[in-house]
Symmetry: C2
Subunit: 459 residues, 2 copies
């Protein structure tokens, strides 16, 4: 078997594959809405059927406290590495429905793009992994590696049941590499392997002053205003360049090598283009770091919301009883979310304005994740992309957080390879989600190739 | 005629007076709601009838661009001073209706309090002035002073038509003193004459960053966050003790004499009681000034509202496209609202954070008002209260603003005496508004006496 055979196989089966994917996309498996509970079950059953048809074994629907996890494996490549493929079969809600050009659960191909909720995030990408396995088993009767699939139904609601499932099934899930296709490429025709994500730690700050709203004329100047108090706290968090002033905040930030920074600098990132795209005239942030570095390798503290007092039309001369703000930090290795939250709390305590009480609520936390970019499993993924796309692969980090990735990394303790085939323009989480079929076609070949690349990795 | 005769007159007529006031209170003259436009006309007509019955002359309904102004006078006290009585016949809306124990426009007396919308603010107090005139004319056939009534129908919506009316009718309205009963006493049994109000100047600050909300993971740290930017601006306005940092803000503040400050210190203001009432454990503000001074004689800058980003339940990692805040300053003599707004704008310009645009919108402005507290017209009012209430009168300022008072002061140029008979507990602007009839009974006598007191003032 060679690359030409595989190409021919995918060409010959393209129509059948698309029809099969469409049948998956027709299941409205919206995890956040209880009215779709039965559809979640349907989605899991569809996967069992399709995984079995692909030649995978031990397919099972594993119940959790929430929506079920689907598992399947093929473990006959003795002495070869094992790959754990993670993905999710649940999708985002579809509101506002009237903005969809074709119904979200009635898939249509237009202009070589497949339109449907889940087309890109993540049913389309999960499907590609299943079809790569099916292709190799059809052509060869065997796979070059052992493979396990773990497909969850709660990714879009924060994966509440998955950490426990992974913890309880450590042995069953043991592998050498985790491969996840749930992220994006750098741009059209520009493949990327993501090897790092920032972690997350957030708090809500509630400031309470007088027991009720006061008239600012009668009390202004003599009673601490909770809005001024919260402004004082928030202003103390950063300096004017965005450098975080929380004591010890940067203590555990692992230095990034000059070599890795040189790789970032070599990426064809177009700052002017980016600024135009988001509509800003100047960028912002810590001196000595590029836009890419500020979002990938530096931790942040951002106010996500402030509320308090009057915000209707016109004027209301109120001195409000309370004010509230939400802030989140993005963390980089080796910052720990619990440690950062403790430092945030100590900072607020040290900067508490007079005349008010301040309460802090913690939000969900996520650790940062990093597979060393020169790890063989990462570099192998880069080679597979390059063979198919015929351009160099970008090795990237991402500024966002996928807490479950860090949880995999932490619980299972083996490297995570993020091989994404989505594009930022594909409206995931929005109306008219779609998937560029160019990346569907190429992705099938990249994934197939990667199973061979991975087979040569030391275990 | 003496005080005993007057007392007897008001006792004899008490039931008739209350019935007549109730008929006034039954008119739902809500100025802010167009469905009550006809009721506003009814209210004006009721006044014409009642003013004429009282013996006043030249009663007229004067049309404006909004609700009409009612005028009447009695000008036969040759060589004597002229008093202009201002009041309003419009009332606040009554929502939430279900919280009223008896319907807002169906007056009831319970526990010697008259319950109805407008009972205290301001129909009840206007009515007392009309009945004092009627009593003196009935008993004496003449008044010790000349008197003019100007009763408007737009006070509760900010008096949009009144300044023009006053400007256009300067000669008709010329007088020696303006008397207004639309404020409160210091407390039950504790009369007060208010001789100063703070002015008002407000702005809205709108900060705009990226053209749409951004993902705080993908852009945090590299794009200026409008919430951080607005926090930076707001924090720059005051120091931690509330001292305003806007350049030149205090330049025009007229010094207050040691004598006047000694009068404030002598008032039986109970700070601990006040703190308990509003639910704060410590007061706040400029060093060197008491609670009373901070709210009466010092200018302020208060944030009345901030909005931006996410404020729902839980977390949303957004870097918002915009943030907004409303702030208002209370002004003292001789600060000028236009000058203060110019200084606020210059301050924001000088403290504009990088990476965002900032827009400023001005709100309605009002000048501070002050009649010297030792002015004979003020002191005379104090004497009248004292004779009836048998306790010393407090001479107070107020922290709030009644822009129309400053407009009277400015356009007509003669002293304003605020003789209030309301109590802070009487739910004006809220359900179950009521008026303590003790102050109705005493107020009639205070006002009657004041007409004699005022007759001796130099013109």
């Amino acid at each position: 078997m060679n690359a030409t055979q595989i190409d021919k196989y995918f060409k010959d089966h393209r129509q059948a594959h698309l029809e099969e994917l469409k049948s998956f996309l027709r299941i409205p498996s919206v995890s956040s809405l209880s009215e779709h509970k039965a559809d979640m079950q349907k989605g899991a059953e569809w996967l069992i059927k399709s995984l079995t048809k692909a030649g995978l074994e031990n397919a099972s629907i594993d119940e959790t406290d929430g929506h079920p996890v689907v598992y399947a494996d093929w473990l006959h490549a003795e002495g070869k590495p094992t790959i754990l493929v993670y993905g999710h079969y649940d999708v985002q809600p579809v509101d506002p429905l009237h903005l969809w050009e074709t119904p979200p659960f009635d898939p249509h191909v237009r202009d070589n793009k497949l339109y449907a909720r889940g087309a890109s995030d993540d049913k389309g990408q999960v499907f590609m992994h299943m079809k790569a396995v099916e292709a190799l088993l059809d052509l060869n009767g065997e796979l070059p590696v052992n493979i396990k699939f773990i497909l969850e139904g709660e990714e879009e609601i924060g994966s509440p049941s998955l950490p426990k499932y992974v913890e309880d099934n450590k042995d069953k899930l043991s592998a050498d590499i985790i491969v996840i296709s749930d992220t994006g490429m750098q741009g059209p025709g520009r493949p990327a392997v993501c090897y790092g994500l920032r972690g997350l730690a957030g708090i809500q700050i509630d400031v309470n002053g007088p027991k009720g709203d006061l008239h600012s004329g009668l009390y202004g100047g003599a009673v601490q205003n909770p809005l001024h108090a919260i402004v004082e706290i928030l202003e103390s968090f950063r300096d004017k360049e965005g450098v975080i002033q929380v004591e010890g905040f940067y203590d555990d930030v692992r230095p990034v090598s000059d070599e890795e920074r040189a790789e970032f600098a070599a990426l064809d990132f177009d700052l002017e283009n980016e600024k135009q795209a988001i509509g800003i005239s100047e960028d912002f942030g810590e001196k000595g770091y590029s836009f890419v570095e500020r979002t990938w390798i530096r931790p942040t503290l951002e106010v996500n919301g402030i509320t308090g007092g009057f915000s209707g039309e016109g004027i209301k001369t109120v001195l409000p009883a309370e004010a509230s703000s939400k802030i989140t930090c993005r963390l980089v290795p080796d910052q720990d979310p619990d440690d950062i939250i403790a430092k945030l709390k100590a900072h607020v305590e040290a900067h508490k304005p007079a005349g008010v009480t301040v309460d802090i609520t913690e939000f969900d936390k996520g650790k940062p994740f990093l597979t060393p970019y020169d790890h063989p499993a990462i570099q192998a993924a880069g080679r597979s992309y390059e063979k198919v796309y015929q351009v160099p692969t970008a090795f990237t980090r991402m500024g966002g957080s996928i807490p479950i990735v860090a949880a995999f990394d932490e619980i299972l303790g083996f490297p995570v390879v993020l091989m994404g085939f989505g594009l930022a323009s594909e409206n995931f989480h929005a109306p008219n989600e779609h998937f560029h079929l160019e990346n569907f076609d190429k992705g099938l070949r990249v994934i197939s190739d990667y199973l061979f690349e991975a087979s040569t990795l030391g275990q």
